[in-house]
């Protein structure tokens, strides 16, 4: 029997493109959320702090699939009840759920890294008459970022893997395409083996990119450059 796997490649690659876009967009959203709420959890303002803690606990404490289904199935009903159209296209629901979820994990990484910056750095910034904002943006965060990178690398791979869940709200990602082909051909072993290796390949590339980034921001460590 001639191998059919070559015929499966074009649809799978189309799906891989969707998976890639989802990963990039949701990782970007996740990084923004991570910095906002990671810094927010250390705020002196009790309201900002409470809101940040609530965000982190809710999104870390409930399952990603629950969050995805809630945004996709339950949110439109809430909107209906208050008279706003909150029906989200699957791609928006997917990026939101993935980004908000990974952002909550990232926020804890950001908080930990910021707290690991030597207190002498804050004192020095204070002595130089920096405003708190200048200290945070110009002194603390640049030194904290290299500490975050290994954990962010793991989270990025986690996020790539999590994108597979959006196939369950009928988004045409790699897993969704594989399911379609399987329904059509019943050639499970070949399709899922290919799918596993494609995710593995994407994860290896993503890990390599994160390592490069890690080396690049490593120059921001104190005493280097």
């Amino acid at each position: 029997m001639t191998p059919h796997w070559i015929e499966y490649l074009p649809p799978l690659i189309e799906g891989a493109w969707v998976t890639l876009q989802l990963t990039v967009f949701s990782t970007f959203l996740g990084v923004v959320m991570a910095f906002l709420f990671g810094v927010g959890k250390l705020s002196h303002n009790p309201f900002i702090r409470a809101f940040s803690v609530a965000y982190i606990e809710v999104f870390r404490g409930t399952s990603l699939l629950v969050q995805l289904f809630w945004l996709y199935f339950a949110l439109p009903l809430t909107g209906q009840a208050i008279g706003i159209d909150l029906r989200l296209p699957p791609v928006v629901a997917g990026v939101l759920a993935l980004g908000l979820n990974i952002g909550a994990y990232g926020a804890e990484v950001v908080r930990g890294a910021i707290q690991s910056v030597h207190p002498g750095q804050h004192e020095a910034a204070l002595a130089l008459n920096f405003t708190p904002r200048q200290t945070m943006l110009g002194v603390t965060i640049p030194q904290a970022v290299p500490e975050m990178m290994p954990a962010f690398g793991n989270l990025a791979v986690q996020n790539l893997k999590d994108t597979a869940l959006v196939s369950l709200i009928s988004l045409g990602d790699m897993t969704f395409r594989a399911e379609q082909i399987r329904n059509f051909t019943q050639d499970s072993t070949v399709i899922y083996t290919m799918l596993l290796f494609m995710y593995f390949g994407m994860a290896l590339v993503l890990t390599a990119i994160m390592r490069l980034l890690e080396r690049r921001v490593g120059q921001w460590r104190p005493g280097k450059g």
């Binding site: 606990e57 809710v58 870390r60 404490g61 409930t62 399952s63 990603l64 699939l65 629950v66 969050q67 289904f69 809630w70 199935f73 339950a74 009903l77 809430t78 009840a81 791979v157 893997k161 999590d162 994108t163 597979a164 869940l165 196939s167 369950l168 897993t175 594989a178 399911e179 399987r182 499970s188 072993t189 899922y192 083996t193 799918l195 596993l196 995710y199 593995f200 994860a203 290896l204 890990t207």
Partner: protein
Amino acid sequence: MLFGFEWDTTNALTLALSILPILMVGLWVTLQATVLGFFVALVMGMVLAVLKGARSRLVSWPAYAVTEFIRDTPLLVQLFFLYYVLPEYGIVLPAFLTGALALGIQYSAYTSEVYRAGLEAVGHDQREAARALNLSRARTFTHVIVPQAIPRIIPAMGNYLVSIMKDVPVLSVVTVLEMLNVARIVGDRTFDYLVPLSMVGGIYLILTLVASSGVRWLDRNLPNQGIPLK
């Protein structure tokens, strides 16, 4: 009606109260899948950790590769693989067992690292002291290294137990009637997703908050100097 319980759609509150027992039936399945998946992860992770620690690279290198492969591929795809491919080779498992197995396999990649890190965290001076006391390698391992590694391993494993619980909803795709799946069925039939899905979120939040504080308590209260094997 589901599992013999009627729902009352008069308003959101009556609906919530009437479907709580239904969700509890789903929660029971979720907890069973969590415990079984965790058990598989503990055993398989131990096997992977031992193989990775082997002297021969012919053994350790494939073990590293397998761990990396498992860790870098999605649980959902691994689950589909087991669910659709195993029967082609004559292995037909109920969906629940397939799901628990998939959870266990995914998390074995993480637990194997926990064992390894826990053992490596025991200071080198401990090994030297054991050697100076003329303890054999086996006795050093079972009576010196392992007892001191256990208090480091248990909290980390606890965190993965919580993670497994949060991944159980993925099993709904192969028809396992865990809590989220049950909530969706209720939503399909009552045309109200908001109440059941929000309740699942709330129940998860309570469970993970309780479990994480339990893990923190363990982390603080396990004896630092070690737990003997006997």
